[in-house]
């Protein structure tokens, strides 16, 4: 089954300079009752975004119209906490194609990659530059190229390369998924079982 293809994007970004953003912030547990993958974007960062009565909190970045774009730039250790894939679904469903941080929690990173959402890990320095660029100009454009593995602040030309697992890169740029790959080796699985 194919997933979303990701090769290259160039867009403005949404800054969220908070460290250790956990998956309970990204999508609180009480919104995990849905049994499909759609619609989680409405509750992305729910408790930061809305007050108890459901009114938008105007000082939260997703409610500030000046910031928009397909890239979320966040503080260190993004996505820690639970394994809920709903976190990746919520971010993708909201309309982001990539998340940039100086560190990602393991499970979140895997979940994002399995959903065509690219986690881009940059150095602390480059992350600081990204925040500076977007706070100086909310419309600052950032380019992410998965094929050549770099991220660039377009106005200044400053760029950094990033790591990505070669297999996962092939999946994302071609729209393959893990199940297709494992199923192509199915006879090895039964051989393994028989040999035990």
């Amino acid at each position: 089954m194919s997933t979303k293809i990701f090769k290259h994007i160039q867009t403005s970004v949404v800054p969220l300079p908070i460290e250790n953003i956990d998956t309970d912030q990204i999508i609180p547990a009480r919104f995990l009752k849905a049994t499909t993958r759609e619609g989680f974007g409405n509750n992305l960062f729910r408790d930061w975004r809305y007050d108890n009565e459901g009114n938008p909190k105007t000082d939260f970045v997703l409610n500030e119209p000046i910031y928009s774009g397909k890239i979320l730039v966040a503080g260190k250790n993004f996505g820690c906490g639970s394994s809920r894939e709903h976190a990746a679904w919520a971010i993708a469903d909201y309309g982001f194609d990539a998340v940039v941080s100086s560190f990602f929690a393991d499970i979140f990173k895997g979940n994002a990659l399995n959903n065509g959402l690219l986690p881009v890990q940059v150095s602390d320095d480059f992350l600081a530059k990204l925040f500076a660029a977007v706070f100086a100009d909310p419309h600052a454009v950032i380019e992410i190229d998965l094929v050549d593995q770099f991220i660039k602040i377009v106005a200044t030309g400053e760029q950094e390369s990033f790591e990505v697992n070669p297999y996962k890169k092939a999946c994302m740029t071609n729209g393959y998924d893990d199940i297709d790959y494992i199923l192509s080796k199915k006879e090895l699985i039964t051989e393994f079982e028989e040999a035990r």
């Binding site: 089954m1 300079p17 499909t36 408790d47 250790n77 820690c80 499970i107 494992i182």
Partner: protein, 471 residues
Amino acid sequence: MGQTLFDKIWDAHVVSSNEGFPDILYIDTHFIHEVTSPQAFDGLRARGLPVFRPKQTVATADHNVPTWDQHLPIKEELSRYQVDMLTKNCAEFGIELYGLGHPFQGIVHVIGPELGITRPGGTYVCGDSHTSTHGAFGAIAFGIGTSQVEQVMATQCLLQQRPKRMKIEVNGKLQNGVGAKDIILYIIAQISAAGGTGYAVEYAGDTIRSLSMEGRMTICNMSIEMGARCGLIAPDETTINYVKGREFAPKGEAWDEAVAYWQTLYSDEDADFDSVLSFKAEDIEPMITYGTNPGMGIGVTQHVPETASFEQKQQGSYKKALDYMGLHDDEQLLGKPIDYVFIGSCTNSRIEDLRQVAEFVKGKHKADNVTVWVVPGSKQVQEQAIREGLDKIFDAAGFPLREPGCSACLGMNEDKIPAGKYCVSTSNRNFEGRQGPNSRTFLASPLTAAASAITGVVTDIRSFLKEEELV
């Protein structure tokens, strides 16, 4: 070069290893629950695939179930729908379900071990990050996302990159009143909520060895709170005695063979770890968290750190956490009034936890300002507690024993801590809103939680123990 315990188990489960690809790892048992499985079942339907090994898949309903009047239909419509969906999916795909009302129902990480499904040397996954709990048996166990749940359903395998290995040793004698929960909160406070990211962590040392299986599960459970992929402890007599005779444990000859294999499961002396840390048991106080991630923990007598003690770029996040918690720089938590005490979750809801709490609260009564919930990890734990008369002790102390489920650990059902209220909780996460919107969580051990329920304020359990010794 010798091998680590982790590598021995991993290598025994590699179906295929190809340069440039993650390994294909065979999974012995796949645990599933109502919250992270429905989309995976849909995925199978869309692909026209069956569950490849339904007999190696075990289901329960835990995250979203009520913990009171479980015999009645679930009131909340979406929760009921999700639990019903699990029942339907399990029937359609031929999976054994320990649903509500079943004598084996409970939190997935409590029932696997207590039923003897979790064993040394195995590989276990579940769409839940605290799957690391099962590593206490000397197994590889970790949490996965829903796409991976679908992957394991379809193939009984998982595509995984081998993580790095870390060894964390704890040696020495614990102070009175300090237990497994304090050890793990201490380690996470030392190395941070991200300190284990990318690692499989083996816990070793004589302090770890001296722990019961329940204590070891508490430690491995919270491995994920330092970002680790999984945690594990080499099996020994304690492990073997715990597994022996359980419902699905091997019997007869199969048991002898299994034990012979389990005895080979340890890290060789010359095994190479990517990182080794050691801690002294004597340095560990009863621990409590003050912030909004589990790395923000201190000894119960210590003060909350000052904002200025952090690097400039971290100060914003730190301040945000303190504001959320309604705390200020240098505040001491000891003596701070609390509103709720939650004793439960896959970290601390096993029979040993309940026995320890019952022994302590016997003849005492909770403070008026505190609401206490004791939520057993499973139906079996609940019944055992009742057989031992613990429910009576709890009732007399104002600690009602509820029915099994995840409950206030994540506040998905109606067990939510109200906005602004403080809860001393034996669970594993103190994230903003984790126990209910705007709830404030202090993570601690069952004994610290129980002592705080009695006094109504954050309490050092050691002060009670001294008094009781005198009496």
